[in-house]
């Protein structure tokens, strides 16, 4: 990259920063797409980030921002955005592809360890569909159950169809409600993060004077178990635990 190109990019970024104010999410999104198409990945990152700052989100926006970060060479932030995109649209093949593709570039690879077959079974069921889908399906079952109850108890129409309907729907509501709660917990209550800095040291305790547990690399996904001061207690995919500075991890 010669100095002229660098100067051009800096100028472009300066211009973008001035021009993003007052634009709609859609405008910023397509401006980002243009920049990406012209291989101005730094600018694309800026546009997409500005689009997110308008308070709107979409899986495509996170996906494109992930792509732009990836092309700018920031694996960690690319992974963060791919995971956010996946949360909004878990069935999208492109998102899954790029997530897996980016994962290969992490200099440290950790194999997931299966500790609880039941939880992984449930995860396999809830995984491919987004939370709102689960929520609406359980809502549908619930409303149908109530309609049956209204027929039976409110309007005193009690035949075999209504009675068996109530029984089936009670089971459905319990199942779907449980899965929805599980999905909600795993995505919004359990916190996950991605390592975003090159030299991220994992310590055995919440201070830099603790022993070094391992050396993490950008793009590694961790589960955040707790916080102590400026340190997160983290759990890696291979079930190794440690403490990392919270600035080195971006939460999803």
């Amino acid at each position: 990259m010669n100095s002229r190109t660098v100067a051009t990019i800096i100028l472009a970024i300066a211009l973008i920063s001035c021009s993003v104010a007052g634009q709609t999410t859609e405008e910023l999104f397509s401006a980002g797409n243009n920049a990406y198409g012209n291989r101005l990945y730094d600018s694309a990152v800026l546009y997409y980030s500005a689009a997110l700052k308008t308070g709107k989100e979409s899986s495509a926006l996170y996906f494109n921002l992930g792509n732009a970060w990836f092309k700018s060479g920031d694996l960690g932030r690319a992974m963060v955005n791919y995971l956010k995109a996946e949360r909004l649209d878990p069935s999208d093949d492109d998102i899954r592809h790029n997530l897996e593709f980016a994962r290969q570039f992490s200099t440290v690879q950790m194999e997931g360890v299966e500790l609880n077959p039941i939880s992984s079974f449930i995860n396999a069921i809830v995984g491919p569909y987004r939370l709102s889908a689960w929520a609406w399906w359980s809502s549908l079952a619930f409303v149908l159950l109530l309609l049956c109850l209204i027929l039976r108890h409110g309007l005193a129409i009690s035949n075999a169809v209504v009675r068996s309907g109530v029984n089936v729907l009670v089971v459905a509501v319990i199942l779907l409600g449980g899965l929805t709660t599980w999905k909600y917990r795993s995505e919004f209550v359990d916190r996950r993060g991605v390592v975003i800095v090159e030299s991220a040291t994992v310590y055995t305790g919440p201070s830099e004077s603790s022993d070094v547990e391992l050396q993490a690399a950008p793009g590694l996904v961790v589960e955040i178990l707790g916080q102590s001061g400026e340190f997160y207690s983290v759990l890696f995919a291979n079930k190794r635990r440690g403490w990392m500075k919270s600035t080195q991890v971006e939460t999803i």
Partner: protein
């Protein structure tokens, strides 16, 4: 003993066999003759090199024939012996200086060696001697002359092959170090300043000899390829050489007997003159539209890595531009937008090469074409225009069009708007070479961090049926209760009937209507109590009410008040003339009071 003798005999036989074997191989000697240049001027010298190689350590000296047109001086020999797998091979290089005596073309072919009565002849070489003496222009002659009129011992000269080049056309700068005396060590050269030029060093040439002003000089050349980056007058600065040369000054010190013997050196710094170059702009006439400043002489080729692929699978086309010119600065070939392909730049690499003094090379671009629909698709001819300075013309090189057979993979769904989506490449394997392209459809934005479970719409959708159910169940229970218990219904309905009668009485409240008024009051109170007690109001007398109330353990004061009120009503109905306005008012108040008090009583 006999055995030992036999072994000895065998051993001796082996030795003899080996010795015989060696002498049996005819000794061949390879003679290779070469010249440093095939054309020299009359005032120059050529170097003849004879390389002998063979399987012997002791190679004979070659016989050089008498050449009438040259003076020949031996320049020494160097040898090289190597033993590989027990085989000895050696080579000896003899160098001779040829000083031409007359112009013409001469063939030197009589060089040979004789070994064991065998004659091995070398190859013939041809040398042309030019009369004019090409290599010694006047300026070199001038430079060689010192101010005192004598020929210098050493001097530095810089020459360019063109003084009027086009922008970005190669100018070859040659810095020559001429020395007629011995120099020690490696001379150091301060490279000339070449501001305004893109500079590539071509390198140093092998030393050669040249006669200038009747004196023999050893010449070392260093060449540069300069590409002017701007038009107008440009100056190539001085080159300065620092060398230690043998001094031919006699030592003043008479005791320093070794001075001459060791060749005392003197450090000197010599410079060339600056050179002015006038750079022309390339002509505007006939400039092609797609011309982007590439100057030289080039050819372009395109080669795809495969000619048949599935939809959404990449075809990598390697475009190669090669030729002479400043390959590092040539513009990229312009690939037009193609509706059937998505195009990505994959890699660029360039290699610089030389043919003679001309710099050139190859620039390769790898471009990935991803077909977006099945069928026989064509990547059109890509052209590349450049300016050829050698005949001052714009020229166009182009590739051949490439036909790609694009197959429809299984399960393919055409999706023209969203590239890369729904393609066949579902597995993440070694086949994946890049991330998939961004999504371009800008829709489906939602408010950040919105969780559906807590949205009002979700709560309403789920809450409304609950409310509906509760409401309907309550309504139904109440209806059932009413139908199952008439008394309850009547007690609920009591106040309504009584209040209606009380309101009726209030409209009649005057001494003129004393009879009707008291009748209504009386009925209101009786029906009120009857409903409360769930008994029939018909024929209910004051005494019966008193009894019923006391049976249900009502308050004694309340019972007395009720019976007083009823008695007063009876009295007023039979003697209405004695009823005053004050009586009516009092009866009204008492009735209201009594009914309110009964309301609060819960009867068993």
């Amino acid at each position: 003993m006999i055995r030992n003798a036999a072994i000895m005999l065998l051993f001796a036989f082996c030795l003899w066999a080996v010795a015989e074997d060696v002498s049996a191989v005819p000794q061949t000697i390879n003679v290779q003759v070469s010249l440093d240049r095939d054309t020299i001027g009359l005032n120059e010298q050529g170097i003849l090199t004879v390389v002998l190689s063979g399987a012997s350590q002791d190679l004979p000296v070659p016989q050089i024939p008498q050449l009438e047109k040259f003076e020949i001086y031996s320049q020494g020999r160097s040898s090289n012996i190597s033993i590989t797998n027990g085989q000895v091979s050696s080579s000896v290089t003899y160098r001779y200086l040829l000083q031409p005596l007359s112009a013409g073309t001469f063939v030197i072919d009589q060089i040979a060696v004789v070994e064991n009565n065998q004659r091995f002849k070398g190859n013939a070489v041809e040398l042309t001697v030019l009369k004019s003496g090409t290599a010694t222009p006047k300026q070199t002659e001038e430079r060689s002359v010192a101010p005192d009129g004598k020929t210098k011992d050493y001097f530095l000269e810089a020459v360019v092959d063109k003084k009027n080049p086009y922008v970005n056309e190669q100018v070859t700068l040659t810095v020559k170090f001429y020395t007629a005396v011995q120099h020690f060590g490696t001379p150091e050269l301060d490279e000339p300043a070449t501001t305004g030029f893109w500079t590539e060093v071509i390198g140093n040439s092998a030393p050669y000899y040249q006669k200038v002003n009747g004196r023999n000089f050893r010449v070392i050349e260093r060449k540069y390829a300069l590409f002017p980056a701007q038009t107008g007058d440009l100056t190539i600065g001085r080159a300065t050489l620092h060398a230690t040369v043998a001094s031919n000054q006699r030592q003043k010190d008479p005791f320093d007997v070794f001075g001459d013997f060791f060749g005392r050196g003197v450090e000197v710094a010599i410079s060339s003159d600056p050179i002015r170059v006038n750079v022309k702009a390339i002509p505007d006439a006939g400039k092609p539209k797609d011309f982007s400043g590439s100057i030289g002489r080039y050819a372009i080729s395109a080669e795809p890595d495969k000619r048949a692929v599935d939809v959404n699978q990449p075809v990598t086309v390697k475009f190669e531009i090669s030729g002479t010119g400043n390959i590092k600065t040539i513009a990229d070939p312009v690939i037009p937008e193609l509706p059937d392909f998505r195009i990505y730049r994959a890699a660029t690499n360039e290699s610089v090469s030389r043919s003679g003094d001309k710099l050139g090379g190859t620039k390769a671009y790898e471009q990935v074409f991803i077909p977006t629909r099945p069928g026989t698709l064509e990547i059109p001819a890509i052209s590349f225009s450049f300016f050829d300075p050698s005949d001052s013309k714009y020229k166009l090189a182009s590739t051949r069009p490439i036909t790609v057979e694009v197959r429809k993979p299984e399960g393919y769904i055409a999706s023209p708007d969203v590239p890369f989506s729904g393609g066949p490449d579902r597995s993440i394997g070694s086949g994946a070479t890049d991330i998939r392209y961004i999504k371009e459809a800008s829709s489906g934005f939602t408010t950040t961090g919105e969780i559906i479970l807590f949205q009002p719409i979700y709560l309403v959708v789920n809450g409304l049926p609950v409310i509906a159910l509760i409401g309907l169940v309550v309504l139904r229970k109440r209806r059932e209760h009413l139908s199952a218990n008439v008394g309850y219904a009547r007690s609920r309905g009591a106040s309504r009937e009584a209040r209606r009668r009380l309101a009726q009485a209030r409209t009649l409240a005057s001494s003129a209507n004393a009879v009707q008024f008291h009748t209504e009051i009386s009925r209101a109170v009786i029906s009120w109590i009857a409903d409360k007690l769930n008994v029939s109001p018909h024929g209910l007398t004051s005494d019966q009410i008193q009894e019923l109330l006391s049976n249900r353990s009502a308050d004694f004061a309340l019972i007395t008040d009720i019976s007083d009120l009823l008695k007063r009503c009876d009295y007023a109905r039979f003697a209405p003339s004695s009823v005053s306005e004050a009586d009516i008012k009092q009866s009204m108040e008492t009735a209201e009071q009594v009914m309110t008090r009964i309301e609060g009583v819960r009867f068993e």
